[in-house]
């Protein structure tokens, strides 16, 4: 019997083990032959004989199963080994594209204001003088119109020079209180290293009862917003002038490149200008027929944010569809 167990142990493949199984446990196998001898065993010994035989069978079965486990594991291991590949070869196969950094930045900005329960509004790109200038306290011949070199159409229409006309349209359409942003493309007749004829802005407007909305409120939201966008930066407000707000301010953040030390990007000032804002001028409210209200407004250039956040050196490269730039944002 011992050499039967030896047979099991010596089976060196699952096939060999299967042959041993048939030889031992099959219908015509060795054990079956042993059990057949039972009938010749005298009555009183039968019990002991059967017990001995069953014990042997159980031991053999145990040996068989142990061997089977071992051989199976070896086989799987061999199979796995045979499927080995150099995984590092396949890193280049990935196929994902990328959103444009300007659009992704715009999304990030929108997310902030939507989370603060601002509505998102839009309006046409082809505008008229009233919505783009007149209603925004930019009467004809106002010197501030020079700041925004405008594309005109032959019929007197124009391409909006800022997203501010969306404020006017929204105020004409809805009653206060208003909390809105207007993201979109804007157009100025300007083309050089730092200007493109089209770029993107996000504009914000909050209008509520008279006496309710103050410059301190404007400061609060913008400081918070700039921390959300740029992390731990210092924020500085400088008085400025925009026809549609009064008082007005420009907002700077401490330079994220040199951390305020002074570098080429911040023209050695340590500050980067990122926003314009102010308290809505009463003439703007007059133009849309609002009375006894107060409000603040702000606007920013998305390209500027994207360039600062991602350290993109060249504005014009953003409009060239250059995959070498875009694939960095996968």
């Amino acid at each position: 019997m011992e050499n039967l167990e030896e047979k099991i142990i010596q089976a060196d493949s699952l096939e060999a083990l299967e042959r041993v199984r048939v030889e031992l446990f099959g219908k015509k196998g060795i054990l079956a032959a042993q059990f057949a001898k039972m009938k010749d065993v005298p009555g009183p010994e039968k019990k002991a004989f059967a017990e001995g035989l069953n014990k042997q069978k159980a031991a053999l079965q145990q040996a068989f199963e142990a061997r089977y486990e071992t051989l199976k594991a070896e086989e799987i291991e061999a199979l796995l080994k045979s499927e080995a590949i150099d995984v590092s070869l396949y890193g280049q196969v990935a196929q994902k594209g990328a959103l444009h950094p300007v659009m992704e930045t715009m999304d990030k900005i929108i997310d902030y204001f939507v989370a603060l329960n601002f509505s998102v509004e839009d309006g046409p790109m082809v505008e008229d003088d009233f919505h783009n200038f007149e209603a925004l306290n930019l009467p004809k011949y106002h010197p501030a119109r020079d700041m925004q070199d405008t594309f005109y159409f032959r019929d007197g229409g124009l391409l909006r020079t800022h997203t501010s006309p969306v404020q006017i349209r929204t105020m004409l359409k809805e009653k206060p209180p208003i909390r809105m942003i207007a993201p979109g493309s804007v157009f100025r007749r300007d083309y050089d290293l730092t200007h493109t004829p089209m770029f993107h802005q996000v504009e914000g407007l909050v209008v509520d009862e008279k006496g309710k909305v103050s410059f301190a409120n404007l400061k609060s939201i913008l400081v918070d917003f700039l921390h959300y966008m740029f992390g731990d930066v210092e924020v500085r407000f400088r008085p400025s002038f925009f026809p549609f707000t009064e008082p007005s301010a420009e907002v700077d953040i401490s330079c994220i490149f040199c951390e305020g030390e002074g570098c080429r990007v911040c023209s050695h000032t340590g500050w980067l200008e990122v926003l314009g804002c102010g308290i809505v001028d009463p003439n703007v409210f007059k133009a849309v027929g609002y009375e006894d209200v107060s409000g603040y407004a702000f606007g920013l250039g998305v390209e500027r944010f994207a360039m600062l956040m991602h350290k993109i050196p060249d504005l014009r490269s953003l409009f060239e569809g250059d995959i070498r730039l875009l694939e960095q944002f996968r």
Partner: protein, 777 residues
């Protein structure tokens, strides 16, 4: 606007104010500092007194000078021709290091020893000032040989370039900037006092007369003088160079200097252009239109107030009799009037259009002070004046209202102090309210919010504490947000199947659009002032922009260019709509070990598959779109929910060749159909279904879309799906082809029987037979 520290110092004492403080203050009060530069001159550069100057024995162009530099007399060789006129010069002595790390050492020039260098302004880091070396005079202070040039604060000055906002015409002068600083720094202005020396006791009326014609919108004041000699005024020339103001001759320099200092517009005329036969100057200001005042002399327009001056009337250093004019016109009036004429404005218009200083007396008095100092002048007594009565704006200012605009408590006393410093007249109305009279030079201030701005500027925004706004909750998720999110999802899907997002200009080239058969704006609606030929109209498709981007990428040796853009396009009537445009050029996948570095090029099937990843389910039928980009035999209309949503095509080989790019597929889809639709779920059958294939022979020319139409028209609830799985053509079939369609049959009510299946399939076959002349294969 460029100012210098020492120049400002003439009107406000800045001794206790550092450059850094000055920089911070300017920014804090809204006069943004563009640049600030302190001029540093090596202390080895000193005042030198030229004792003698002789021609170099061996070089025509060189002079050998003996110069007293305080510590002794040095022999210095100088190449500048103007050194012969010089008494005092700037000498870089041995050891001086000039900008550009240029160290002055002993030298021998053509055999002559030279111990130093006589400097030109630019060699010291000062602005360029004409040709040759700098000739110093006592306009900068007492000159002593050996005194370091750096010790003259007017020379080693700090030059500050301010970026003024369009409303701040009042700061287009040194005086105006000083006034703003005075309010911000709480330092009193130095009063300007000067007693003009009118040496000639003859009244101006004896020699000149003023005859106005029409309603005068401008203030004018004329003085008459004779000037016989102009001295060099180094300080004037230096400061004008520092602030970048150019002037032709000495008189022009003095006028420009006075204007830059005071903000008053000053012009010099040859008196003779106004003189009649009795040699009396007759000046005739004539109202040409509202805001346009012509100054007529001898029936000729000699100038237009605030706009320009005729060249012939401009006075020069050799003008025997000089008529000086100071003028003011309200900028709003002027700008509107000038916009409606074709007058060519000169460099003073920048100031007049933004608001020059209306205090003509101050401007003329300041001019007199420098004319007296730097010229031999004889001035006639008195002046000829036109004065316009102007109502000063009065604003009722309530401290509580100011506080609520600012969001911070601001006391009335503080407001009064600030406004007074800024030149406002104040009268108290009650404990909280004042009436503020706006000075004429602040034409931009018209209401309480304008006043609030002044208060905010001077208080400093950075001193206002931020406070969050309390507001009433309201649902603000509107359609625009929903659309925006849907578009973002579309873009994310495109990114997921490998496309890069492109952003291109809304513009296109009209000729290019026309060439490729796209719609163009009706001419009457097109751009009037395009910025460039290639961007002369609005785009009616994004595909051409994308192909231009593909071309650039291919030129950078990109082999696979998958791009999309979701944006606006315009039809002939300039109606705006949004489309999703897609291009795919070159290799269908990236080069890798998977394809041994030789991927297949993009083809119809793989392009459609990618499109499916973006758009979702759609069907294709023969293309009805028409333009020159479309390949007539590999193009299709994209049908979504039975509606035509756009098209896709292989790029026409001719266009492909023109752009010089590899095989390319294009698609343009109306963004509207990509917006999510509301979906109601259909019940799902619990019973097993079966797949059945059917091969039929049909005409070669018959498109599958027609087969699909026939199948779609069947009213068979058990026929859940059908789609083509094989197409086969050979010579035996001739003008026919074999099409295999797979059907999925399933009942919602029970297990399918053979009869059920047979019934469906025979109905299908019957329909194909009659609808498509199909035969069983």
């Amino acid at each position: 606007m460029i100012v210098t520290r020492s120049w400002l110092n003439e009107f406000i004492d800045l001794k206790s104010v550092s450059d850094q403080k000055l920089y911070e203050t300017f920014n804090a009060i809204g006069l943004e500092v563009d640049s600030m530069r302190k001029i540093e001159i090596d202390p080895h550069v000193v005042v030198g007194k030229v004792l003698s100057c002789e021609k170099h024995p061996d070089a025509d162009k060189l002079n050998v000078c003996k110069i007293d530099v305080g510590t002794g007399v040095r022999q210095i060789v100088c190449g500048a021709t103007n050194v012969v006129d010089a008494e005092y010069v700037a000498v870089a002595t041995i050891g001086a290091v000039l900008p550009g790390d240029f160290e002055i050492k002993h030298a021998k020039l053509r055999g002559v020893e030279s111990e130093g260098m006589v400097c030109a302004s630019s060699e010291l880091g000062l602005p360029q000032m004409g040709k040759g070396i700098m000739i110093l005079d006592e306009s900068i202070g007492t000159l002593e040989a050996g005194r370091a040039l750096n010790s003259y604060e007017t020379v080693a000055d700090t030059i500050i370039e301010l970026e003024l906002t369009a409303n701040r015409g009042d700061c287009l002068s040194i005086y105006g900037v000083a006034r703003d600083l005075s309010a911000a720094l709480d330092i009193e202005m130095k009063p300007f006092e000067y007693k003009q020396q009118e040496r000639m006791k003859v009244g101006i009326a004896r020699e000149a007369e003023l005859h106005t014609n029409g309603e005068m919108d401008a203030d004018l004041r004329y003085k008459l003088a004779t000037v016989s000699h102009y001295e060099n005024a180094f300080l004037i020339a230096l400061r004008l160079a520092m602030v970048g103001v150019e002037a032709e001759d000495k008189l022009a320099k003095l006028l420009a200097y006075a204007t830059h200092t005071t903000g008053v517009i000053l012009r010099g005329y040859e008196s003779k252009v106004f003189e009649d036969e009795t040699e009396k100057a007759i000046v005739r200001p004539t109202a040409k239109a509202k805001g346009i005042i012509e100054i007529i002399g001898n029936a000729e327009v000699q100038s237009v107030v605030g706009v320009c001056q005729a060249e012939a009337s401009v006075a020069h250093d050799n003008t025997p009799k000089l008529l000086i004019e100071a003028s003011y016109i309200h900028p709003d009036l002027l700008v509107e009037a000038v916009a409606q004429t074709d007058l060519k404005a000169d460099e003073l218009y920048y100031k007049t259009s933004r608001g020059s200083n209306p205090d003509l007396g101050f401007g003329l008095l300041f001019l007199a002070s420098i004319l007296d100092r730097y010229t031999d002048i004889n001035c006639y007594e008195g002046s000829l004046d036109v004065t316009v009565e102007r109502e000063q704006e009065k604003i009722v200012v309530d401290a509580r209202e100011i506080s609520s605009i600012v969001g911070m408590e601001i006391e009335i006393n503080r407001i009064v102090t600030i406004l007074q410093k800024l030149g406002f007249g104040i009268s108290m109305m009650d404990d909280h309210v004042i009436k503020a009279k706006v000075p004429l030079y602040r034409h931009d201030i018209k209401n309480i919010q304008d006043v609030a701005e002044e208060i905010v500027r001077i208080v400093g925004i950075n001193n206002i504490e931020a406070k969050p706004l309390c507001f009433d909750e309201k649902m603000r998720l509107n359609d625009t947000i929903a659309r925006y999110k849907a578009k973002r999802a579309v873009k994310q899907r495109a990114v997921g199947v490998g496309f890069f997002e492109n952003v291109s200009y809304l513009f296109a080239q009209r000729e290019q659009l026309e060439k490729y058969g796209f719609e163009v704006l009706t001419e009457a609606l097109d751009l009037a002032n395009p910025i460039a030929e290639e961007l002369n109209t609005l785009r009616s498709t994004i595909l051409v922009n994308l192909l231009n981007a593909v071309k650039r990428n291919v030129s950078y040796t990109q082999r696979r260019v998958p791009l999309f853009e979701l944006g606006a396009v315009f039809d002939a009537q300039r109606e705006q709509r949004e489309v999703l445009s897609i291009v795919y050029t070159g290799q269908a996948e990236s080069e890798s070990v998977v394809n041994s570095g030789k991927p297949e090029m993009i083809d119809f099937a793989s392009f459609v598959e990618k499109l499916g990843g973006i758009v979702g389910s759609f069907s294709l039928r023969p293309c009805t779109a028409e333009n020159a980009l479309i390949h007539p035999y590999q193009s299709a209309d994209i049908m979504i929910e039975g509606k035509r949503a756009g098209y896709l095509s292989k790029l026409h080989p001719t266009v492909q060749e023109e752009f010089g790019i590899p095989v390319t597929f294009i698609a343009e889809i109306d963004a509207e159909v990509l917006m999510p639709q509301h979906i109601n779920a259909k019940p799902i059958s619990k019973f097993q279904g079966v797949y059945k294939d059917l091969s039929v022979v049909i005409d070669k020319a018959l498109g599958y879309d027609e087969v699909a139409n026939v199948l779609a028209s069947l009213d068979l609830p058990m026929l859940k799906k059908s789609y083509p799985v094989d197409i086969y053509e050979d010579e035996v079939l001739g003008e026919k082809k074999s099409l295999t369609i797979r059907f999925f049959i399933q009942s919602d009510e029970g297990t399918l029987s053979e009869d059920d299946i047979e019934a469906v399939m025979s109905t299908v076959m019957e329909a194909l037979r009659s609808g498509c002349q199909a035969e069983l294969r």
